[in-house]
Every structure is written in structure tokens, then in C-alpha cells.
Symmetry: C2
Subunit: 516 residues, 2 copies
């Protein structure tokens, strides 16, 4: 057994079931070793940002690490932006990065680079194997690190000769560390704070946004009348009819400050005090109300559901939560041009039960979120690290994790271009993803931000850098080129027809929604 075989056996024994891959020469032994591990599915991406973004989507939906297989420093570099998002999402991922054989590295061949240096900024842990047998041991450790609650980015570097050298043995499977819990004293202090006379809020994130944890949060609210607030960009929010609803703090700092106004006591579980996405001249970056009493009860690495349940019990909260999402009457949509609002309403109406939404709508997608609050139960994933180009890969990975659920990718056009190669993997794996391209032919958010950072009279050159009209991208042709059937829609009727057909179909479909 060579090092590659020992590694892949160890990963399989440790529960890794999918390897998203874009391999090169230095990973050929690892590719060959995948053949023997029938428990590991191999999924090819034609760009590394697809690979890492898919691993993120898989991790968010399965709470298990996928492996990625990447080609030296440049291959890893291509995957970094979505590893940044994955790290911010606290997703579990095991990256396997091939390197030259050890003796070859010192020769500075063309593809040589500082892989540890490339990996470090977007990884929670980086290690290089030291021998063929150590390759498997490093793999077991990587899985354990990745599984640290709720998830971490573990990157291991595999020199080619460690992969091809015989005499290796598999390592003992990974045992993830126990999930820390808060103390009773901390729970009691937080309960006391929430019962103070002023306006209270629970500010929750990450695993606190799963259905069972939200249920407990709703019980806490029932006992304390606290508001339930989450970060702007949750990794995975379980929402819809019958679930406890949480309010996401708005993206723009001035709206966020208004939104938080009047809160006097704030308890954080699974996340930290909110800050604005960007800084702006003469605007605040920290969004918690000045003077509010802040308690960071449980950070993101502490068991969120346990914290919320014990907090509710300590408060003698009723069994029935408040803030339960009820059904909502949606406004009628008139026949005519498609805009953000009508697209939002129609998409909400057609959202299937148990859907998974990958939301990279950026400036155009907010209305879908707004109108789908009362839709059947679904999972909502957002772009956690602000690195655009996440949406399509994330949808890809989510569909691999949950083959029996419909995935809806709400995707801004500018952002879609960064990792558009994901469409090919959707076609190849026949994934049940409906992609809605929100086509405004613009980096719409930047046209807003230009003014907000103080640029009041942008000239033609500046504006041209935010404009995607020359040429207009033909998303139907783009989608067809990679094997995903597609349709364009510029009216509400066309959009309803196209989206209905896409949702009814089992397999990938793209709808180009031309926004007025």
C-alpha cells in the first residue's frame, strides 16, 4: 500500500464520503487511490473555486467534511476565496494539496511555491506530511481538526513521493474533540440580564440558527420578550412556516444602527457583536447600541443548542416558543416587466418545501428573502465572507449533500461570472439545482457603494468599471455551453413559466431573469 492509498483509506474510515477535485500531475497517485475507496465519491470541478465552494456547501448541509484535491500552490490559490467564505461559515473541510516530491522542491521547478504560505491565511490548520505513512496520520488529524464544532478548514500538503512510496499503513480514524458547553453560572447571569426591565435581544449565529436551536431561542423570547436577531450573512438559516423566525441585521450600517436602536441588553450566542461590512467616512463600524449591556454567553465554538435550551430552562420558559413564523399572504403580481419585487414574490410562491437556497443575490436578491419568510420550511445559505463567486459552487455542494432536496441558487449576474464553471459540474452530476440569474448587467452594489464612500460625481471611466452591458452576457448560451438547459425571462409571466418548469424538473436548470 502506498501513501496515497493509506491516506484515502484513512479518510474513508474517518467518515469522508466526497472528494471535490481538480487534480494535476502531482496528485495522480491520490486520484488512483480514490478508485479503491468505494465509500468516497469523486466530483470534478473545472476550476478550484468550484471545488472549495462545493465543499463549503456540502459541509453546511451535511455537517461533515468533504475532502478537496488541489494542485500545488496555484491550484490552492484559485480555491482560496471560497475557503475564505467557508472559514467564515465555520464549515468543515479537509483540503489535500499535492506538492512536488520533497527532493524536487529545492530545485525551484516552475510550479514550486510556498504552499504553506498560500494556505495559512484561509486555513485554521496547515500541515505537511513527513513520510508516506505520515500522510495517512496527517489525514486523520486533518479530519479531526475539520470536525471541531461547528467546523474548521484543515489543509494538508501531500508531497508526491509520500503518495507514491510503498509500505504505508492507514492511520486510526479521526476522533473529533468534544463540543464545549457554557457553565451554569454563565447561563444564570445571562438569564438575569435578559429579565431586566429594558428591551432585550438575543443575538444569535451559526449553529444557533438551526431549527432545534431556534425553537429554544423562541422559548427564551417567550420568557423574556427578547428580540431574536442574527448576523447579516448566516451560513445556514433554517426558516419558513412554523419555525421560529429571526431578524437579520441589515447590511447597510445606518439601517443596522436604526434596527438595533432601543436595545438595552444584548446576549450573544454563536456569534459576536455585529460590525458593518465595510467602513465608510464618518459612519460607525460597530453596530451594537451605545450603552447597551453586552454579554457574550457562547462564542461560535460552544454548543449553541445546548446553551439555548439550558437558558430557556433556567428561565422556566414555556414549552411553546414565540416568534413562530406564520403563513403570509403574498401580494398579487401583475403581468408585465420583471423587477426585483415581482421576482421575489414569484420565487417565494414557487419555493418548494424543504428547498435549499444558495443566496448570492447581492443587490438584487433581497426581495426573495423578504417574501419567502412564510414559505414552507427551507434552508437559507448566504455569502458569509463577502467573497463573491460563492453561490453556484455552494449550490453544487449542497445538492451533492442532499440529493433529495431541491436547491435554488439566487445568483447575481456579476458574481456568477467568478465561478461560472460550476454549471458544468451541475450538468455532469445531474444535480437538482435551479439557478436564477438576476440579470441587471451591472455590479449593482458598487453603484450604490460609490456614493456611500463619498464619490459623488463619478466620471465615465469609473462608471464603466461597474457596468456589464458591453457586451451583455447571454446566460442562456453560457448555460447551454456547459450542458445546463436554460431559458430567459423578462416578464413576470415568462419568469413564472420558466421557474415553474425548472422547479418541476429533476436536474439542473437555469433561468435568466432579466430585471427592469
Amino acid at each position: 500500500m502506498n501513501g496515497a492509498q493509506a491516506l484515502m483509506k484513512t479518510l474513508s474510515d474517518s467518515g469522508v464520503e466526497v472528494c471535490f477535485a481538480n487534480p494535476g500531475t502531482s496528485e495522480m497517485q491520490l486520484v488512483a487511490a480514490l478508485d479503491e475507496q468505494h465509500g468516497i465519491r469523486a466530483v470534478l470541478g473545472l476550476f478550484e473555486g468550484v471545488v472549495t465552494g462545493a465543499a463549503d456547501g456540502y459541509g453546511r448541509m451535511s455537517d461533515k467534511p468533504a475532502a478537496t484535491l488541489l494542485h500545488l500552490g496555484p491550484g490552492l490559490a484559485n480555491g482560496l476565496a471560497n475557503l475564505h467564505n467557508a472559514r467564515r461559515a465555520l464549515s468543515p473541510i479537509v483540503n489535500i494539496v499535492g506538492d512536488h516530491a520533497v527532493d524536487h522542491i529545492a530545485l525551484d521547478a516552475p510550479l514550486t511555491s510556498d504552499i504553506v504560505g498560500v494556505a495559512t491565511p484561509m486555513s485554521d490548520w496547515v500541515a505537511t506530511s513527513t513520510s508516506a505513512s505520515n500522510l495517512a496520520e496527517t489525514g486523520a488529524e486533518a479530519v479531526a481538526i475539520a470536525c471541531r464544532y461547528p467546523g474548521q478548514i484543515a489543509t494538508m500538503i501531500a508531497p508526491g513521493d509520500h503518495a507514491w512510496t510503498d509500505g504505508a499503513v492507514p492511520a486510526a480514524p479521526a476522533t473529533p474533540p468534544k463540543v464545549p458547553r457554557v457553565s451554569d453560572e454563565e447561563i444564570e447571569a445571562a438569564a438575569e440580564l435578559l429579565l431586566k426591565p429594558g428591551r432585550s435581544a438575543l443575538f444569535i449565529g451559526n449553529r444557533a440558527l438551526r431549527e432545534k436551536a431556534l425553537f429554544q431561542a423562541g422559548r427564551v423570547a417567550a420568557a423574556t420578550n427578547a428580540r431574536l436577531i442574527s448576523d447579516t450573512s448566516p451560513a445556514r438559516l433554517q426558516r419558513g412556516l412554523g419555525r421560529v423566525a429571526v431578524q437579520r441585521i441589515p447590511y447597510f450600517a445606518e439601517s443596522a444602527v436604526d434596527f438595533m436602536k432601543g436595545i438595552e441588553q444584548l446576549v450573544f450566542i454563536g456569534t459576536k457583536p455585529p460590525v458593518s461590512f465595510f467602513a465608510y467616512p464618518n459612519r460607525p463600524s460597530e453596530l451594537s447600541p451605545e450603552g447597551a449591556i453586552i454579554t457574550r454567553l457562547a462564542d461560535e465554538r460552544v454548543d449553541a443548542e445546548d446553551t439555548l435550551r439550558r437558558l430557556a430552562d433556567t428561565l422556566n420558559a414555556p414549552d411553546n416558543p414565540i416568534h413562530l413564523q406564520t403563513s403570509e399572504e403574498l401580494p398579487a403580481v401583475e403581468d408585465g416587466v420583471l423587477d426585483q419585487r415581482s421576482l421575489g414574490i414569484i420565487t417565494a410562491q414557487l419555493l418548494p418545501a424543504n428547498a435549499i437556497v444558495s443566496d448570492e443575490g447581492v443587490s438584487s436578491g433581497g426581495q426573495v428573502y423578504r417574501y419567502s419568510a412564510g414559505a414552507p420550511k427551507h434552508d437559507w445559505m448566504t455569502i458569509t465572507g463577502g467573497a463573491i463567486g460563492q453561490g453556484l459552487p455552494l449550490a453544487t455542494g449542497a445538492a451533492i449533500a442532499c440529493p433529495n432536496r431541491k436547491v435554488i441558487a439566487i445568483q447575481a449576474d456579476g458574481s456568477a461570472m467568478y465561478t461560472v464553471q460550476a454549471l458544468w459540474t451541475m450538468a455532469r452530476e445531474n444535480l437538482d439545482v435551479t439557478v436564477i440569474i438576476l440579470k441587471n448587467n451591472s455590479y449593482g452594489i458598487l453603484n450604490i457603494e460609490l456614493d456611500r464612500v463619498g464619490v459623488t460625481a463619478p466620471g465615465p471611466k469609473a462608471l464603466s468599471l461597474l457596468d456589464l452591458t458591453n457586451p451583455v452576457i447571454d446566460w442562456v448560451a453560457m448555460s447551454h455551453s456547459m450542458g445546463v438547459p436554460a431559458q430567459s425571462a423578462s416578464t413576470t409571466q415568462e419568469f413564472r413559466t420558466a421557474l415553474s418548469a425548472a422547479v418541476a424538473h429533476d436536474g439542473p436548470r437555469l433561468v435568466e431573469a432579466v430585471l427592469a
Copy 2:
């Protein structure tokens, strides 16, 4: 004047004429400042690998640095793979990476990352500005660093508040350092070595591969009967009818060893002793013949043309070089299916005078190189760092640098997918680029390498990771989707017709060459 304005004025004063950009919110002031600098052209790329690869192509063809404008750590990360190639090509580039305002960085907002850490592995120099006025000073220094002969990657980080704060002043323009020269003693020693009775070779790279330097190398050969050899993957080789021809050392190590056999004295100018691209079990990595006397006369940072001229003069070499490329009779191409050979011959026949070739043909493109040796003078650029996804961006930047020359991109299909967004920039800027997609629906090189690393009986899962047939990519639809007219060709007649039309046209065109 704010910091952004002072920076852009300084860059313009320092000779920067193009800014390849994919900006975000934190770069909006820099975008606005571009408006006022009429000497700087702004070119939008829809993915950062396009931006950095275009800057590389521009640098190779103009010997001047372009600026890039990138969005924080993830935006820079997306551009790293082509910065790796650019660094290996010794191209001059000034990367400007926006960051949050200084006070915002400590708050760990979603897009925050260690930008210096991301930049370092693929940069020769990294600096962060310390104030609004220092932004311009840092810019001037970056240009000077980038212009160090023959070129370097200078990356500067621009916090948002330095860009938007008023009261800044432009810095004095950059003055690049002088180019070092070798000593007379070193020249004389090398001349002596080349005159020894055994077989000699000049092994040259980088700026030694420009026409004037090659002329001097041909004079040296005339005086010493030395072979002229270059690296496998030159950044820019000037070749064609009437120029001194150099032999590229083969890619595969065993062929390279054969190729070098019998050489007893080796003089290196502009490069270093060759090593194989990858290591393989039981094969050598170092390719110079064992026992040969090796002199490293001038490394890549030393004036190559000066070294060669003085070496020739010291040898009292004749004024007329040997190894001059003569015209070659090309074999006739029969009507029928298109293969690598017939594609190579037809492309060579149609290569326009003064063309610029961006060669990312990988496993399928070698025949074009072979048959175009005697074509009219042209520049040949290869993938210097082995990070695929360079070809289309490189062609984009070369076309911006040389608007009056035809650029031919010889592009493998698998590699093309990494930075396919370059087609959009070609359409937007109406660049005179003809893209030839070598369509074999495979990572062809990996099918070769699998065997070479010792995987003799790959299974279906392994092979599926090298295969692009499911689905087949429709390159005509892909190209149309981004505004570049395209045609498919699967016979020699179709290919000749399509390529003739593309070459005759002034503007971007794509030919999908379906290889048998």
C-alpha cells in the same frame, strides 16, 4: 487631493498607462481617481485571474508595468495563480489591493483577511501604506520595484481611509534601479570555457530570448559552434524567419536528458540550470549532463543582451550569426479530420507577420510551435509557472500592449475553463485576438502523466477525473455568450476556412478546433 488621487497621479507620472481592474467597495475611491488620470486606461476583467494574467501579458509585450486593482484578500487570492506565472515570467506588475479602513480591520468584518499573507507567496515585494500621503509614496516605490530588470511583482495594500482622506500630495515618480552587468573577467572565463574542445552550449533564457540578444548569441555560436538552448517555457521568445533560432529543452525529463546528451560545457545567461517540471519515481530531476562544466555567467537580473554582445566581442565573433532561421517547406495537409499535426501545419501557414502567440496548448499545441519555426517573425509566449488558466488573459494583455499586432491564443480546452471570462474583456475592448480552442475534451496531459507517475491500471473513477466529455463543452456557445463571434471546425478544410476568416478580421474571434 485625497490619497487615491495622489496615488493615481503618481502612477501616471511614473509611466503606468493601464490599470486592469476588478474593484469592489473598498476600491471605489481608487476607481474614482482613475477618472482624472487620462494617461491611464482602465480595463475591466470579470475575474481576478483575468486581471493579473492580462497584466502579465501586457508586461511581457511592453516591458512596462501595468497596475492591477483588486478587492481585498479574496480578490487578490483569485489573481494569485496568474501572478505566480507572471513572477516566473519576470514580468513587471504593480498590484494595488484595497483593504478596509485601518480602524475597521481590527473588528474582523466578514471580508477581513491577512492580505500581506495572501500576497507574499506570489510577490517579490509587499507593502501597506501608512497614511493618505504615504499611499502615493508606496505607489512610486512599487513602480520602481516592479521595474527592476527584467521585472518584478510589487504588491501594495491600500486601506480605504488612506484612499479617501484629503490633504495628500503626489510622490516623486519612480526611478528604476540600474541594470547590473557582468564583469569582464567573468566574460573572459566564459569565452575560454566555450572554446574548449568538447561540445559547448549556451543555455539562455528570459531577456536573452529577444531578437537583439539572440543575434549576439548567434554570433557567439558562430565563434564557438555552441548549441543555443532555452528553457522549456520561455516568457517571450522572439522567433521566425531570419532570427537566430534557439532550441527549447523538451518538457519530459527523459527526452530532455537525451536532448542534453554530449554537452561538455554549459554557459547560462538569463536563466539557471534546467530541472524537470515534475519529479517522477526513479527519474532524474536535474537535466544538465552529468560531469558537464557549468558556468552561470549571468542570472536573470543581469543585462542579457549586454552579456551576449560582450561575450561575442571577446570571442572576436563574426558579425553574422549562425543558427539563423530559414524558411521551411511545410508538408501538404490532406482534406479530412483535424488532428494536432494538421492543425499545427495550417496554423503555421496562416500565422500573420509580427503575430504574438499566447501558447497554452498543453498536450495538443506542440505541433503549432514545431511547424511555425520558419514563419514570419513573431513573439511566442508560454506558460511560465505551470499554473493553467494563463493563456486567454495573457492574450488579452498582449493585445492591449500591442494594438497593431494580431494575437493568436493557442488554448487547450481544459485550461481555457479556468479563466474563460477573459473572452468578455476581449469583446468589450474589441481586442484583435484569435483564440484557437484545442478541443480534445480531456485533461490530455494528465492521461499521459498518470502512467508516468506509476499508475498503470487506473480505474473508472480516476479516469473520470481527467475526462471532459460529460458534458462536452460547446465552445461556440461559450464564446457567443460573452460576445466573441465563434465557429467550430472538425475537418482540415473547415479549420483553414475558419482560421483564415478569424485572422483576416480585426477583432476577437474564436475557433473551436475539434481534434480527432
